[in-house]
Symmetry: C2
């Protein structure tokens, strides 16, 4: 029972970033998004990936690998927009 | 060594939502934020909380309890803005 709850939690928290990644790619709008959050989050997910490799847990590795890709996309577009905004205001 | 990597990952991914919660509370702007993401994510974090209780792991419980609060705040404001937007367009 426990592992099913864990798999469900991992699946939901992993794939919850898919609609955000799609929305950010489609709209290029990162207005309300905190780039600080996605910077910390992406680094945190990277350490979950390292942790998964260290403890040789394929579920932690695969879930965080997928989340890392989505989070990195959102972070990249957020930072790209911040740089663009700075250029315009200068 | 492994557990330190795990604690660092848990700390970063948990507290990464604090700057987003602060930004959302301060600006009330959820323009670029996907309400679908935060719905799935909040439910997912809830299941991580249940999982932590089932396996009696205080770190999983405390990290996800904190994340749940931040994610729920962001979700609440996102949905509030969506409802407000719908009323205006009707």
């Amino acid at each position: 029972m426990n592992s099913y709850v864990g798999y469900l939690a991992a699946f939901l928290t992993t794939f919850s970033f898919l609609p955000q990644a799609i929305k950010t790619i489609r709209t290029k709008c990162t207005e309300g998004i905190s780039a600080v959050m996605y910077s910390l989050f992406t680094i945190g997910i990277f350490f979950w990936l390292v942790y998964g490799i260290l403890v040789e847990d394929i579920i932690i590795i695969s879930a965080n690998f997928v989340t890392f890709i989505f989070a990195f996309i959102i972070l990249f577009i957020s930072i790209y927009n911040l740089i663009k905004k700075k250029k315009i205001t200068n």
